[in-house]
Symmetry: C2
Subunit: 505 residues, 2 copies
């Protein structure tokens, strides 16, 4: 009996009397659970893929072109380090096997459309980097610094020169899935962007029917890769051909037809997409990363700030942040209970900028994001922010700690329209995440010379001072309790990590 | 005939049969123009003051306690450097004699309530500083770092221990006006804050009637000082005892009764005060200083960001900005067409922090604000920002220059509610001010390695690169024209100054 690793791919090859890019159906079952997958055209043949999520014997039945075939295979335990697809749980993520997953992504929108040499360089760069997620487009990208023509396209053309979505080009898809598989081997999630507006070829203006054929093909062909995430769009709100209801239709289709329930999100330029059942998490663009506090409230899902600007030196405001600013935004986001994604846009004569094409990483933020990832990974559990205060007349709710007239301030806040007050709720909330035994506070660009802690008198706490730029952790007090004034270096980029060691909290 | 300098003070002393803090009236006339001023109680006597704004002979009639007295005096030309009260004109300021005034204020809320020694130190610090406006409260201040009791108070107390606003304490007022006069000698405008919420003595909870008596007294006593500005409140929206209509009543009263029409503003904690006729300019608190673009549109008046946070290292977010951040905010505000005010809050054991008490300046922003002031003063005229784009379907309006899909972006922006779109209008506007022959662009925290200019082919332009932190100006091109790629150091805090030298624009 054939053996396949758990979270690996079982594949059948067949020829079909039927026509079309997606043909046939396979039903895979074990212990009464059934998974339905579809076959897809790959050149002259058809393939059908299944990713088993449980060890043991799986039985299947496959139907195509009037024929039916049955069989079984054995699923062996996943090799060490393979944990399956990532799932959203509460405001955080876990792999399918329960292992903690802290997303630290980066961005190479069009890396699979570059020269072989550049793609190989990208993979080598990823080997040396801390990233475990990659935002990448299926369609090629047209934009400043993106003028080169890709070698192949997802579809063949009709006689009139327009795309024939019923004729996928196997060269394109074999290449794409090879890259997805290589990322999987490196432990990197492929956050596949299905649509985007930056186009000169006509992919952003296909009809709804054409889009649905394309999506069906993506699911049939790619869903069996454990590291696939579905990102409906990069900047959905700039895709003029599509309306809110279209995106909802896409999202629902994926949620229904992807048998593995890979993560599904949608990324905006300006206006976050309205909450929908098919969304597994928020994929947000903003420089104002503390808005994550409100998005957590509104969406009740994990928030990834997938775009907060890029470290670089090009002429566009989104692509010329200092390394410090990007690192600062990432710490700020994390201490608002969100996750973050990196990007880099340093000018090059040859236009090979990491954010779109991959290649070589040159910035100073990468090593510091690794430090942030190490700090978080070193904690035994995820931390969550205090909910931002609502200032409703509630005696249990904390008043602003601004050193000002608390009653007057609350009264002024309560007179505001809600949207305005929400901005103040964010602005006046501290950048603190905590669990019962840890507390991480990021002081951002503020430069206090000291910080007063009110710890329990009955507990014992370790107080560490973290310098996010210098990447140092210094123990200020090994066994603190009660009121503690922590002396600080009065500079930007300082965080405090307080660990409860023993005693009552 | 007595001689008084233009913009100086002519004063009469009298005793009155009437009772009350404000008694009698003087009518001063010249060339058919009449100014009415009131007398005020000063201990056992009454005084009546008049500031002549024009040279030549002035006649007056004074009535008090049933008596009437007439006389005249000669007004001599103002000494060199004395230009009279500051007036708002369009989005900028001018002295009464037409001389340009570029406000560069600082903040010492309660400096007149400190020890004599501290006050003298404050004056020495101001001598060495570039500031030409001082935000200062009439009432004392209660807040963290403000616990010391002032030596005297504006009113005497009633038997029940509450304030008797009908009995001003001459010690207090003589001292205050001495300080106002000393500031005038230094060329510093006294931006007098009439009310504020940070109080433990009961000044913020006086009745409306008591407030009106106090205001009447302030006008009678202080308006003759050329450098007085009226700031109705620091953080009006945190003063729980007063409503919008009360502030409007105060503003209208000042506009009607101050014969010199000194500047009148009101400062907010959160919500800017609604536009009103009596407002001569906007006195705003915000860290988001580019909002000045919207406030210019809304208020059609000059905008001063009177509080954008303070350089310092205390525990409060408003009081621990790095010097760079404050300097950055000031350049940003200026390049949004606004003016700025400085403040400093470095921790001291003795609680003498500049922002409240004055004393000694320790920060690194002051010298850099002088540099900014020098750059602006070196230009022959005020510069104004481009109006932020509205993105209405208007072919003459510029589309976003973000290197992205301009049509898609405009379409996304037009779908937004107005308040949301306004925030994007600000975010996507460049930080540029210009006049027909100058253009100043601040690149803020962005770090481009180059900047492309599209100058007229027929003109000749000087291009200077300004480093706002290092305080350097370097000529990049002495005679540029047409398309120019300016090479930049790819760091935060860079501005470009482009001067049109000759030829067609």
């Amino acid at each position: 009996m054939q053996t396949v690793d758990q979270y690996g791919i079982f594949e059948l090859l067949f020829t079909s009397g039927d026509e079309g890019p997606v043909v046939g159906e396979g039903i895979f079952s074990k212990d009464g659970k059934e998974y339905r997958v579809k076959g897809f055209k790959d050149g002259d043949a058809y393939r059908l893929r299944f990713m088993p999520g449980e060890t043991g014997v799986w039985n299947y039945t496959v139907r195509y072109g009037g024929a039916e075939e049955a069989g079984s295979f054995r699923c062996a335990e996943a090799p060490a380090g393979i944990h399956g697809p990532v799932r959203a749980t509460g405001f955080h993520f876990r792999y399918d096997d329960g292992e903690r997953y802290l997303p630290f992504g980066t961005t190479c929108y069009a890396w699979t459309h570059q020269s072989e040499e550049t793609q190989e360089a990208t993979l080598r760069s990823l080997d040396a980097a801390p990233f475990n997620k990659l935002r990448m487009c299926i369609f090629p990208k047209h934009m400043p610094y993106n003028h080169n023509e890709p070698e192949c396209f997802p579809f063949r053309k009709k006689a009139d020169g327009t795309w024939n979505v019923y004729e996928p080009d196997p060269r394109f898809w074999r290449h794409l899935e090879k890259r997805v598989a290589e990322l999987a081997e490196k432990g990197i999630e492929a956050d596949l962007i299905l649509f985007h507006p930056y186009d000169r070829w006509g992919f952003s203006t296909l009809s709804m029917e054409e889009n649905l054929v394309y999506l069906d093909y993506c699911v049939a062909r790619l869903a069996a890769y454990r590291n696939v995430w579905w990102s409906l769009a990069n900047e959905y709100d700039v895709v003029t051909a599509r309306k809110t209801e279209d995106w909802n239709r896409f999202g629902s289709l994926l949620a229904e037809t992807d048998p593995y329930h890979h993560l599904i999100s949608i990324h905006q330029c300006f206006t976050p997409f309205p909450k929908a059942d098919w969304m597994t998490h928020c994929s947000m663009q903003t420089g104002l990363v503390r808005n994550a506090l409100l998005w957590r409230e509104e969406y009740q899902r994990p928030v990834i700030i997938d775009e907060c600007g890029y470290e670089g030196d090009i002429e566009f405001g989104w692509g010329n942040l200092s390394a410090f600013e990007l690192v600062h935004r990432c710490w700020t986001a994390v201490c608002a209970g969100a996750y973050v994604t990196h990007g880099e846009t340093f000018y090059r004569e040859d236009e090979v900028l990491w954010w779109a094409k991959g290649g070589v990483l040159r910035g100073e933020s990468v090593v510091r994001l690794r430090f942030l990832k190490d700090v978080l990974s070193g904690l035994p559990r995820e931390l969550d922010p205090f909910p931002p205060p609502r200032w409703l007349p509630n005696p249990n709710e904390s008043k602003p700690k601004s050193g000002e007239d608390a009653d007057g301030i609350v009264s002024a806040l309560l007179k505001m329209p809600e949207a305005e007050r929400n901005r103040w709720r964010v602005a006046l909330s501290p950048a603190v995440v905590e669990s019962p035994d840890y507390r991480l506070e990021y002081l951002g660009r503020t430069c206090p010379a000291f910080w007063d802690l009110e710890l329990s008198e009955k507990g014992r706490y370790r107080v560490e001072i973290i310098d996010v730029w210098e990447m140092t952790r210094r123990v200020f007090a090994e066994e603190a309790s009660g009121r503690v004034r922590v002396t600080l270096p009065a500079k930007e980029g300082i965080a405090l990590l307080i660990t409860h060691l023993s005693g009552e909290e």
